[in-house]
Amino acid sequence: MALWGMVIDLDRCTGCQACVMACKAENNVPAVGAKEANRGRTISWMQVLTEVDEHDPLGKVRFLPRPCLHCDDPPCTRVCPVYATYRNPEGIVAQIYARCIGCRFCMAACPYNAKYFNWRTYLTEGPGQNPDVSVRSKGVVEKCTFCHHRLQKARERALAEGREMEPGEYIPACAEACPTRAIVFGDLSDPDSEVAKLARSPRAFRLQEELGTRPKVIYLTEGEARG
């Protein structure tokens, strides 16, 4: 059984946000409009968080691309009252839009702010959208799914062709789009996969590891260039 995870090399990330745009296009993530964005309602499954050094504000800005970290012990699934968010056996923390009642408890519980809410009907079904991903109604929570629909498609294609799915056939939109290959995705349970090897790197760290969430998005710290 696979254990899907991701490694993001912060040295390679330039903050270009190609991952953000690719994710939005792939997953029909709505553009909420300037007015709603000013009120803090932007939905961005992959979001690049920026941190300015308070002692050197005109110096370097640090970029942190933050998708859902697909924790192995998710605080969000614990508090969901209706099984609308759960961790599937392959490690992906899924979101069932049709079940969600919009109580936003998972949003309050997530220490990474990885969950977003549809405060209004931001998008209705129409042409030009990705037909593989449902368009969410108002009043439900959504978040990064590691492009799970791509996994399903890859598996079905392999099944139709009577073979096993190759590693690399399933890759989320953000990893595919990143121009510097800062985002590496794969099966953490396969010790020979690139992502598993990078996860063992001495530069690897997990965000807020002390909370015990066991996230499966692992970051590689900036190296000597950052100092």
Binding site: E36, R39, G40, R41, T42, Q47, L49, T50, E51, L64, R66, P75, R78, V79, C80, P81, V82, Y83, A84, R99, C100, I101, G102, C103, R104, F105, M107, A108, A109, P111, Y112, N113, Y116, F117, N118, W119, R120, T121, S137, K138, G139, V140, V141, L207, Q208, L211
Partner: protein, 446 residues
Amino acid sequence: MAEVDTRDAILLAPIEQTGRGFYWALALLSLAILWGGIAYAVQLNEGLGVTGLHQPVSWGFYVTNFVFFIGISHAGTLISAILRLSRAEWRRPITRMAEVITVMVLFIGAGQILVDLGRPDRVMNVIRHGRYQSPLLWDATSISAYLTASLVYLYLPMIPDIALLRDRLGKRKLLYTVLALGWRGTKRQKKVLNRAISVMAILVIPIAVSVHTVVSFVFSMTLQPMWHSTIFGPYFVVGAIYSGIAALIVAMLIFRKAYGLQGYLKPIHFRYLGQLLLVMSLLWFYFTFTEYLTGYYGGEVEEMKVFWGKFTGPFWPFFWGMVLTNFLIPLLCLVRLHRHSIGKVLTASVSVLVGMWLERFTIVVPTLSYPRLPFPGGVYWPTWVELGETAASFALFALFYLLFTKLFPIISVWEIQEGREMGLKEVEERLLTYLPETAEGGAHGS
């Protein structure tokens, strides 16, 4: 056929007649309810975007109101149950007022969560697909149990009064006859009823404590700074009892004025409740002080962000407003209750209601406003929708309460009569058991 002491006829007056004041009150409350109704209709149509909520502050007024109203529910049943169990004679005119508060406010409190849902049309999912690992399900179960228990605990002591209405009043005969359960005041019936009320008084207390404890668990079971605290259970219960007593005092004073009940709700009652309020104020302050001192002393980075946000940051008006209205003003009002006791107790109670609402707000919003990661923040301001919903919630509660007083006596007539007939004797007997034996061996009393 039950006899009514003519001195108590005033207790049945609101049921027999309706004055102009009732209609004025009805009109005013209806306006507020209409405001809230329109607000909710807009919210249903456009989504929760019409509120001031956003990322990361995804909980605001509605959740604050939820905690606040459920907190007030502790007034009733807890005070009534504890006073009954301790056989305090001064409880007699108070118990029913308290119990009605609990029942009515639980509906309003539960309604806040419904209003807060993004998809209220799917609320049945909680029933069909509930997860008991989620504190929201603990809430649902606990509040259901409390509502059921409070309804029973309100209804049972009403039975003799309902029988009175059945026999005396001309209208609503079917309603009163059915609800009176054939009460005739026989010895066996009295025994059954008193036994049942005693059992309920005991049962209702742990249920009430569990309710606000699980409400606090909604916050303390997360990992968020200044929420994930072991003190939350008892802290919320103490705060609930505190706000509950204040609400009870305000309700008592309103109906004392409106229905001319000065003969029954005397300054001594308010003085005793004021003393209870003072004790709760000190207890609440003790918990609050401990909570913030612990956070400050530990100095944990994430907690200190929220801490300073409350002390000196954008939330300072709410935090210091809370300290003023929830502690300083009540303390000043309640330390000396010899003169102007009613005025002081009223001031303190209104202040506490404001203060406890601010306390709920300063628990819910600041923690969400300071996310751990450098997530773009935002300041939360309520919109007319949330203000309207809040106004309507208070108005709806007041309306339910008012309608109750029109159907049933708000002061327990039979318990007042029982107090006159047997209270003195019972207390004297009890007093003698406390005192040492005299040489004449109990020649007094009996």
